[in-house]
Symmetry: C2
Subunit: 213 residues, 2 copies
DNA sequence: TAGATTGTTAATCGATTAACAATC
DNA sequence: TAGATTGTTAATCGATTAACAATC
């Protein structure tokens, strides 16, 4: 168990790289490779070798000089850190094209997180049915009740921009502490609620801008 | 027309905020609001007011002291900068759940960019058909030929991780200069090809990590 | 003129990277 | 011991923010 103190003082940039590190070591273990080093990692994940070593050093001495890193040890270390063993249930709000794609994305195949509830407005014909994989699609008016009952703390917003803030408010009301938001707006939530936004149009526009330089 | 020199020397962090600025001014214009200021913008888009002013100052004097910014002027300015008027055709590779959602996402409703070609391997039953919106789904072996013919320079990768690098190589071969990548790997491409990656699982894992702190 | 808000400077903060002594 | 590679320091770079003179 990594000290809470270390976790909390971790630079944000480092924290964002943890999933990449975990995934990298997991892949090597699966391929039967037992050791690696910062130089070779750098090549494969596109992060500078010094950055990798510095990131690791924040957790103590994870490697051995002259040898490198043991893949199994490090996989387990980062797995622990990310709580890979912990089952996480997600609620998804907005069963449109994107919402359906996310439901079928099957996060659970690679991780212990999965969407277990979905919501939309009653006008949506899918409300009241279940997906082929057995996820119930509820009316959004039941959101607070259901989420509290299932003790879910993480949600995905895939509704239209116009309704996103209103949905976020409802989620906060229901006790949600983490939101993955696909609506292209800045959500206002209390300080103890975490938001990660993914803005597809913005990413495309940024890409085009860099291309035009 | 903004000087090429300015565009190229723009800090990366600033460039990534441009779509937000554009969108913000566009919204205000649509709502009939004719002026705003950095303080109020900051509130709504979640970027520090000083950062906004500093970003703007890189382009010259876009505002007026004691007054603020004229929404229409600024919308047009950032629209120009982002090439909002330019039609951009996109090729999409990988017509699975995510691919189909992206096709139906209708980027064109808000911007002049749209997916006009889709690809998958011949084994996919959709190959040879068209989507309801009229986008042809080609066999991936026709990729280079078609993309060159249509002079497309931007593509979206939504294939499985295992095939992503191979697809990227084919795209580069076909002359693509910008890739929006949804596969959770670091793509290796030549220096003149731009890549923006969106890694859904990573975002979720990062969110959960911050929640557990 | 008085009030508001910019544009810009200077300070601060956070992240990256080069370099190398430590050490396996 | 010789060679490899870490862990860490110091330098550099880039981004954010506070503060305020300039000016509309």
């Amino acid at each position: 168990m990594v000290e809470k103190k270390i976790r909390e003082s971790l630079p944000k940039a480092t924290a964002k790289r943890l999933p990449q590190y975990y995934r990298f070591f997991k892949k090597l273990v699966d391929e039967g490779v037992s050791r690696t080093n910062s130089q070779s990692m750098s090549q494969k994940i596109g992060v500078d070798a010094a950055t990798i070593r510095r990131d690791f050093s924040l957790f103590g001495e994870l490697g051995r000089r002259g040898y490198g890193y043991n893949t199994k040890e490090l996989r387990d270390f980062f797995g622990d850190l990310l709580g890979q063993d912990r089952e996480t249930h997600l609620a998804l709000i907005g069963v449109g094209n994107l919402g359906r794609a996310l439901i079928n994305y099957h996060f659970q195949d690679r991780n212990k997180m999965r969407i277990t509830q979905a919501y939309d407005i009653a006008e949506n014909k899918l409300v009241g049915t279940e997906t082929s994989s057995g996820i119930p699609i509820h009316d959004i008016s039941d959101l607070e009740k259901n989420i509290k009952k299932a003790k879910i703390t993480t949600a995905i917003i895939s509704v239209k921009q116009e309704n996103a803030q209103e949905v976020a408010d409802k989620l906060v009301e229901a006790g949600i502490k983490g939101i993955l938001n696909f609506a292209p707006i800045h959500l206002k939530v209390p300080d103890d609620v975490h938001v990660q936004s993914i803005d597809l149009t913005k990413e495309l526009q940024t890409l085009l801008f860099f291309m035009s330089e």
